[in-house]
Symmetry: C2
Subunit: 339 residues, 2 copies
C-alpha cells in the first residue's frame, strides 16, 4: 500500500487520519515504561508522588514534542492529547484528570486557544462532579498576539516549555493546589515570547500548506499555526532578526532591568535547523549582555513545532529567587531533560 493521499509534504505516515492516535502510541513507547497510556488518548506518569496536587497539561497533537512530550519527572504528571491541531475533547481531559489526581486537586495548565479553554473547562466541570478539585492557569506568552492591555487574548506559544518546567518542579515539591497554581501563574506572568515564521506548515490530513508566505518575507509575530502577527517584514539577516525580536520583547511589560536573571529559550518550529538557532543566539546574547540581563540558562532546541513549518522564537522567563530554585531542579521528559 502506498500513501493513500496527495502527500505533498512527503510525510512518513500511514493513514493521515490516524496520525494523532499513532503518534500517541509511539510516544508511549518513547517513555520507556515511565509513563502509560490512560483511556482514549491520555498519558500519565507511572510513579506519582502520593498525596500531592497534580499538574495536567494538554493540547492538540501535531506540535510534538509538546505538550504530551513534556510529561515526566519534574515536569507534568500527565497530558490530555487532542487530534492534530485540535484541543483534547472534554472526555479525554476528564480521563487524564482522574488518572493524575491524588486527592489534592489538579492544576490544568495549557495554551490559550479557544478550543482548549472550552474543552478544559467542560472537562474540569466533569472532574468536579467526580469530586476532583480543579484550578486552571492559562499560558498566554505570545507578545505579538495582543497588546499588554488585552493579555487574556494572547496565544500560548513556546514559553510553555519554561512554564511547564517550572510548574513541574513546583508539582514535585509543594503540598497544595493553591501553591502549585500560584507558582504556575507566576511562571506565566514572568514569561514572554516573540516568534517569526519563514515557511508555512502542512496539514497532515490533506498535505496542503497551513498558510501562504512569499519567498522574500518573514511573518513577524506569527503564531505556531500561522496566526497573524504584527506584519510581514522583508527577509533579513540573523543579526537584524534577533534585534527585531528582542526589541519587541523589551517593548512589552515584563519590565526587565539590568541585573535580572532569565531563562532564554531559542525555539525552532521544526524545519529551521539548529545552525540558524545558534547564529541567532550569537546575535542575541551581546544585546542581552549590553542591557545587563544575565542569562541563567539557555535552551536551544526544537520543542514547540508545527508540521513542516519553519521559523523561530525567543522566549524570556524572568527568574526570581523562588523560580530560580525551581529551575535548577533536574527534570526528564521526551521533549525536555535537564540535569
Amino acid at each position: 500500500m502506498s500513501v493513500p493521499y496527495k502527500n505533498s509534504a512527503k510525510k512518513i505516515i500511514n493513514d493521515p487520519n490516524d496520525c494523532a492516535d499513532e503518534l500517541f502510541e509511539g510516544l508511549v513507547f518513547a517513555y520507556d515504561g515511565k509513563a502509560s497510556r490512560v483511556g482514549k488518548r491520555s498519558i500519565v506518569m507511572n510513579d506519582l508522588r502520593p498525596d500531592a496536587p497534580a499538574l495536567l497539561i494538554g493540547g492538540g497533537a501535531g506540535h510534538e514534542p509538546i505538550y504530551h512530550g513534556l510529561v515526566g519527572k519534574g515536569m507534568a504528571d500527565g497530558a490530555a492529547v487532542g487530534e492534530i491541531f485540535a484541543a483534547p475533547p472534554p472526555d479525554i481531559v476528564l480521563e487524564a484528570a482522574q488518572a493524575v489526581s491524588r486527592g489534592k486537586g489538579v492544576l490544568f495548565l495549557y495554551g490559550n486557544y479557544a478550543g482548549d479553554v472550552m474543552n478544559f473547562d467542560i472537562g474540569g466541570e466533569l472532574a468536579v462532579e467526580e469530586g476532583i478539585e480543579v484550578k486552571t492557569v492559562i499560558i498566554a506568552d505570545d507578545v505579538c498576539s495582543a497588546p499588554p492591555s488585552e493579555k487574556h487574548k494572547r496565544r500560548g506559544v513556546a514559553g510553555l516549555v519554561p512554564v511547564v518546567k517550572l510548574a513541574g518542579a513546583a508539582a514535585a515539591t509543594v503540598d497544595t493546589l493553591d501553591e502549585l497554581a500560584r507558582i504556575a501563574q507566576k511562571a506565566c506572568d514572568n514569561t514572554r515570547t516573540v516568534g517569526v515564521s519563514t515557511k508555512p506548515g502542512s496539514i497532515p490530513a490533506t498535505g496542503e500548506p497551513t498558510f501562504e508566505l512569499a519567498d522574500d518575507v518573514i511573518g513577524l509575530g506569527m503564531g505556531i499555526h500561522g496566526e497573524k502577527g504584527v506584519g510581514l517584514i522583508p527577509m533579513c539577516t540573523a543579526n537584524e532578526l534577533a534585534a527585531k525580536i528582542l526589541d519587541l520583547l523589551f517593548a512589552d511589560d515584563l519590565g526587565l532591568v539590568a541585573g535580572d536573571e532569565i531563562v532564554f529559550f531559542v525555539n525552532s518550529l521544526g524545519s529551521t535547523h539548529m545552525m540558524e538557532l545558534l547564529i541567532l543566539l550569537r546575535a542575541a546574547r551581546p544585546i542581552l549582555d549590553a542591557k545587563g540581563i544575565k542569562v541563567h540558562h539557555t535552551i536551544v532546541d526544537s520543542i514547540v513545532t508545527c508540521q513542516e513549518m519553519a521559523g523561530v522564537s525567543f522566549s524570556i522567563t524572568k527568574l526570581d529567587a523562588e523560580l530560580k530554585k525551581l529551575w535548577d531542579m533536574p527534570c526528564e521528559s521526551v521533549g525536555y531533560t535537564k540535569l
Copy 2:
C-alpha cells in the same frame, strides 16, 4: 542589509560564508559557561577530570547539534569543529587535543569520512610531536554504505550519538587511554544504523540543494549528506518503511538474538518532524518485541542533521553489562542530555 545571496532555502543567517564561525560562537553561549572556546574553532569543557584520558570528538559543521553539541558532563571533553560539511583542519585538531589533554592521552572519536580521517591523523601526528599520546576510534555505523566484509568503508552516521554517550561515560570513569579506546571501540562494534532520505539538504554558501530526489521516491540507505545508499524505493507508509529499515539492520552482522538489550535511536535529519518519528517508533517496536529484543532506552530526537534535509534513521546499539552500566550514567550536553 538583506541577505546577500540567493537564499533559496530561506535560511536565517548572516554572510553565508561565516556560518561555521557564527554557529560556533552561538554554541559557546548555549553551553552557559560550562564549556569554552579554545583557539580557532574548538570547544572544551571547563571542568576536566584531573589525570584522566581525554575524549575528543569533531567533524564538519552544518549537522548541529553534532558533533560539537555533544561536549559535556558524561559526554565528550571537547570538539574540533570544521567548516560547513568539511572536516576540521589539522591545526584545529591539534589545538583541541592540547586543550583536552591531561597527561593520560587523548582518544580521537569521529565519523568515517576521508577528510576527517586525513585531518585527524595529521593533527594526531602534530599532537604526538607535542608529547601527547593519541589513539583513534572511527565510527562507521552506516550499514548501507558498504557490506560487512568492507566495514572500514562504512560512513559514520547517527550511531555516533550512542557511541559518544558511551565513550563519554567511559571517559568519566576509566583511568587509561587503552581502556577508553577499548570501550569506545566496543560501542562502535555494537552499533548499526540504517537511514533514509525523503528530501535533499541545502548548501548554506549557495542555497542550492545538496542532491536531487524525485517527489515519489525515498533514498534508502542514503548518507547524511545525500551519499548513495542501496537504492531508491517508492514513497511508502511509515509501517512499510519501519519494516524495511529493521530488515536491513537485522540482515547485518550485529547478531541480535532474543533477550538482547539495546538502545534504540530514531533520528530525524532535521526537516522530518517528531510526529513522523513517533509513528515510525510505533511501527518498529512490535517488530523488535516479536524478535525478543528488549529496548532498554529509546531516543526520539533530531540530533544528527543536515541543512533542510528530511529523512530518518534507526540506530541500534547492543548493550552488554559493561555498556549498559555506562549507558545508565547521566550525561549533559547541548545535543543530548539524560538523567
